[in-house]
């Protein structure tokens, strides 16, 4: 999540209001206050609003929301005359580039920190960890245009940021901290992306590291921005967000000619939306004029287009506006979520329980009646618990997690009984007898269905107890069952039975094998029962699959 630090004094100056008003109202544009400190506030903004990842962006939005300055912010862009070429060899590597010249910046240490923070937040939210977009800012006055974005041999060397010696790009990937962090993004390519100037001096090795040559300091007056990436839309949005934030801070933006195209334009996108659609979605009665007023507070350009439509100009930094409803949400935010009159619709509907819940509820009622306590173990477990401890062969239909997070949880349970045995171990120090049951999901291959399992541990737990419990459960679930001797190795030979319905084994009960007891470090006999609830009449078919 993007947590943005907003220094009060800077924010107050930009917003033209006091800090308390901002702190009180900022959650209502969509934000969570993280920490309120003496000189700043840390605020978390949503991942769809990277334009709020800087004090300048927040101030711009808040000025509108608070009615201080409404409507579309207009940013002038004049051509810088600088050109930037893109090497066709980058097509399969990192093909897209946007750039801009930002003049007359006034950078103190805090402003540099804020710019770096914006850059990092954009790398995360828009750039997907620099893969989709990576951003570089350079001291324009240290280099000579025109610039070239090229696919370079991996052996090319330059002095990377914060280093004193030249390194080859390959060395950077192994020896530079940023190189190690992001090596995976480029290491499989024969050539690496590189930005050089007219004198073949290196500005940047995107998306890894800039050169030391163009390092931005408090002395920097003019900035060259580069945004490279694999997605043109994302590259443009990152450029627009940075340029407009710096423009809000007082800088002048100039465009660069990239492969014949002038970027950025910082021009809004136009969208004509229906007032009735918005009113119906939000449950408000709205006129075109009212809607215009709401949208202007959210910094859209808006004007009525007849009575029933509104022509909306979407600021160039708003990457979240994909659909008309995104505009309508902003109208709702401007209206104020606290001002909506909550209501229930008049339509009447009838409740209906899912059949598997009906069956599970019956199982709970029967087992509670037999004096059993319900437990609800995890569905993720491991093969030791599920099979080895139970003396059972691993079932081929077991689902394995591709990237488990611990050795304890590597597979999805195919049975419940082993988890109850584990639960008995966890409760070894508690008073006996303990009679536990669980009813819940198991998964075989990709199919989810329900089982029930029960265990009873105490010095005289035996086959008869298990049989009696199984008999009660089957009778209460109207299961027309027979019992045959079982071969389940988790149970003691001669003291185990399979529950058979329609010629199919659907359950097992009996005395747990002493070797299984010892595998779970238990010291008393356990009478146990397991039943596949698909056998119960009325179980819905087919069970859940993807």
């Amino acid at each position: 999540m993007a947590i943005i630090t907003l220094p009060y004094r800077y924010l107050e100056r930009l917003t033209e209001t006091d800090r308390q008003t901002i702190i009180d109202r900022v959650p209502m544009i969509g934000a969570d206050i993280e920490r309120i400190e003496e000189d700043h506030v840390d605020v978390e903004f949503f991942p769809d609003r990277p334009d709020l990842y800087s004090p300048e962006g927040v101030a711009r939005a808040m000025r509108g929301f608070l009615g201080i300055e409404e409507g579309l912010p207009v940013y002038g862009v004049c051509p810088s005359g600088i050109t930037f070429s893109v090497d066709p060899g980058l097509a399969g590597i990192r093909p897209h580039l946007a750039s801009a010249v930002i003049r007359n910046v006034d950078l103190d240490e805090e402003a540099i920190g804020s710019l770096m923070a914006l850059q990092e937040a954009l790398h995360w939210a828009v750039g997907r960890g620099r893969g989709k977009v990576a951003i570089g800012v350079h001291n324009l006055d240290a280099v000579t245009p025109p610039f070239r974005y090229i696919a370079s041999p991996r052996e090319r060397s330059f002095v990377p940021l914060d280093f004193e010696r030249e390194m080859t790009m390959e060395e950077i990937l192994t020896d530079h901290p940023k190189g190690r962090d992001y090596a995976r993004l480029v290491e499989n390519f024969d050539k690496f992306p590189l930005i050089v100037d007219a004198d073949d001096q290196v500005l940047s090795f995107p998306p890894i590291i800039n050169g030391e040559l163009t390092k931005v300091t408090t002395a920097t007056k003019n900035i060259l921005l580069d945004c490279t990436g694999t997605d043109k839309r994302a590259v443009m949005i990152a450029t627009n967000i940075i340029c407009t934030a710096l423009a809000e801070a007082g800088a002048t933006i100039e465009s660069v000619t990239v492969e014949g195209e002038e970027v950025p334009t910082l021009a809004p996108a136009e969208r004509v939306v229906a007032v009735a659609e918005c009113a119906s979605l939000l449950g408000l009665s709205l006129t075109a004029d009212e809607m215009v007023r709401l949208l202007r507070r959210m910094r859209f350009g808006a004007e009525p287009d007849g009575d029933s439509r509104v022509r909306v100009l979407v600021p160039c930094y708003r990457s979240d506006i994909l659909h008309d409803w995104d505009v309508f949400e902003d109208a709702a935010i401007a209206y104020g979520f606290e001002n909506f009159d909550a209501a229930l619709p008049a339509t009447s509907t009838v409740a209906k329980e899912h059949p598997t819940t009906t069956i599970a509820r019956a199982v709970r009622s029967v087992m509670v009646g037999q004096g059993y306590i319900e437990v609800m173990p995890f569905t993720l477990t491991n093969e030791r618990v599920l099979y080895a401890n139970m003396r059972r062969e691993p079932a081929p239909e077991t689902l394995h997690l591709l990237h488990p997070i611990s050795e304890e949880q590597t597979v999805v349970r195919t049975d419940l009984l082993p988890l109850l045995m584990e639960m008995l171990l966890a409760n070894k120090h508690r008073e006996l007898p303990q009679r536990l049951f669980t009813v819940g999901d198991v998964v075989e291959d990709c199919a989810t269905f329900q089982k029930v399992a029960t265990v009873s541990i105490h010095p005289s737990a035996d086959f008869s107890e298990a049989y009696a419990a199984a008999d009660v459960l089957c009778r209460e679930l109207t299961l027309p069952y027979t019992v045959v001797e079982s071969a389940d190795p988790a149970f003691l030979d001669g003291r185990r039975g399979d529950i058979v319905v329609d010629g199919r084994i659907v359950g097992v009960f009996g005395e747990i094998h002493p070797a299984v007891l010892r595998a779970f470090d238990l010291e008393h006999p356990v009478a146990a029962l397991a039943l596949d609830l698909r056998a119960v009449p009325g179980y819905p078919a087919p069970p859940g699959t993807p």
Binding site: D48, H323, F328, S348, G371, P377, L380, L402, R430
Partner: protein
């Protein structure tokens, strides 16, 4: 005065004897001495008898002591085995020589010169021998001269004997004079006693209500299950139909159908449990593809780029139950649809007290002609109100598949405003590919958060690795509606 039958019987016996030893009383009452002591103490507490306790000590032989009985102490036996004098070497062959020689010298019975052992003339028996003789004779002796020597030598041990003498008091006599019902008290009534009416005349045992009963534990459902059932009932009350479905979902249903872009961080293996299995895409998946690539036939731009069918086929453990909601809607196009689901969802998180890799999520959807944002807030207020959260407020939120999106907050005493769940109206990018023509209101919440608030848990793992004691001691009735 409430007397037990046994106390009464004791008093009757004592009325005649006045005072008697417990041994005698036990014989007369045909019971064990310990029992008599117990009855006497009970009657004593009521001032009906006096119980006098006598403690006496006596000494009985040890195993070693018994071995010498009838033969004399070892030194006496050895002394008498020779006349006048004897070479030490010969004397040492006596089986008791080892113990005896030391004692003979200590008692001054012999003198040893140049390997010859000579009797002295002071070999008369001392008090220890006299005591030992009495012990041999009677099997047990009282304390007296020489006895402590035997104890020190491990030939005798002290034994403590407690006897009780019980005497009836004047109050006791008075009571007996008044007459007793000496019939056996009845505990459990028999069928015959009830049918015959005999119970009317029986002395029924009275029970002491101040004594706690044996603690037993009923079978019961899990406290968390009861909370889930409570929520389920609230949704039934609100007219919702229950949905259920598979834990394993294709990425298509878990992400793509919900307009989650294919490069979204949630779709990386750090956040989601991926499986090796693949699942074929449903018929008409192309409409979802088009929506991602360019927004289909809606006002949306889509995400751009190229949508990968292979990526959509990968199976995952469902990260939300919304994957079931969209499938339910796709199969129920006719309004109204009001459905909910309570099910486990999975996130690839390291387990700690407040994070689990699996937990329950509740989700509700409402699809109907003309439902709107105000109705969404209305459902949220109603649901949370029924859950016992009377104060609810709403802030803008963000979820990839809803627009507008809401973050509801509830007021909890002691905690203030707590964010609880999320809600919104399904984006058209989500509904349009499946031909869903009306707005879909949706909300969801992680129930473990509610469980922590309502069951007072500090560690979420407790829900799934339950301490049986906790389940036993958590009352079935929560006090909530």
């Amino acid at each position: 005065m409430e007397l037990t039958l046994n106390e009464k019987r004791l008093l009757v016996v004592l009325e005649e004897a006045g005072s008697a030893d417990v041994v005698v009383l036990a014989e007369k009452m045909d019971t064990r001495r310990e029992a008599v002591v117990q009855y006497a103490n009970l009657a004593g507490e009521k001032g009906l008898v006096d119980v006098e306790k006598h403690v006496s000590r006596r000494y009985i032989p040890t195993e070693e002591g018994r071995a010498y009985m009838g033969k004399g102490l070892p030194e006496r036996q050895v002394l008498e085995s020779f006349e006048g004098e004897i070479p030490m070497r010969d004397l040492q062959s006596h089986p008791l020589a080892k113990i005896a020689i030391g004692w003979m010298r200590k008692k001054g019975w012999i003198a040893i010169r140049d390997g010859i052992v000579q009797k002295t003339d002071t070999t008369a028996p001392g008090p220890d021998e006299a005591a030992f003789a009495r012990l041999t004779e009677s099997g047990a002796i009282a304390a007296g001269e020489g006895v402590s020597d035997l104890v020190k030598r491990g030939l005798a041990v002290e034994e403590e004997r407690v006897t009780h003498t019980v005497s009836i008091t004047p109050r006791g006599r008075e009571l007996v004079a008044g007459g007793f019902d000496l019939r056996e008290e009845v505990g459990t009534l028999t069928r015959e006693q009830i049918l015959s009416g005999e119970w009317k005349d029986l002395p029924l045992r009275r029970y002491d209500v101040t004594k706690l009963p044996r603690r037993t534990y009923p079978g019961k459902t899990h406290p968390y299950q009861r909370l889930l059932d409570e929520m389920r009932r609230i949704l039934f009350d609100m007219g919702f139909e229950e949905m259920a479905g598979g834990i394993v979902q294709s990425s298509f249903w878990n992400f793509d159908a919900l307009f989650q872009p294919q490069d979204h961080p949630a779709r990386e293996m750090q956040d989601t449990f991926f499986l090796g299995e693949r699942w074929p895409l449903p018929a008409g998946y192309e409409r979802v593809r088009d929506m991602h690539e360019h927004g289909g036939e809606t006002s949306s731009t889509g995400w751009g780029g190229t949508w990968s069918a292979a990526k959509a086929e990968q199976c995952v453990l469902r990260t939300h139950t919304t994957s079931l909601s969209i499938q339910h809607l796709a199969g129920h196009l006719k309004p109204p649809v009001k459905a909910f689901c309570i099910g486990r969802v999975y996130r690839r998180e390291a387990i700690d007290p407040t994070h689990l890799a699996e937990f329950e999520q509740l989700e509700g959807i409402v699809m109907d002609e003309g439902v709107n944002f105000r109705h969404l807030l209305g459902f949220l207020k109603e649901f949370y109100g029924n859950m016992g959260f009377e104060k609810v407020r709403f802030r803008p939120g963000y979820f990839p598949y809803t627009e507008p999106s809401v973050e509801p907050e509830v007021y909890v005493d002691g905690l203030g405003w707590v964010e609880l769940g999320g809600a919104g109206i399904f984006r058209q990018e989500v509904t349009a590919p499946f031909g869903i023509e009306h707005p879909v209101l949706a909300w969801g919440l992680g129930i473990s958060r509610v469980a922590m608030l309502q069951l007072g848990l500090r560690d979420l793992r407790q829900l799934y690795k339950s301490d049986v004691e906790w389940v036993r001691e958590t009352p079935t009735y929560s006090g909530r509606r």
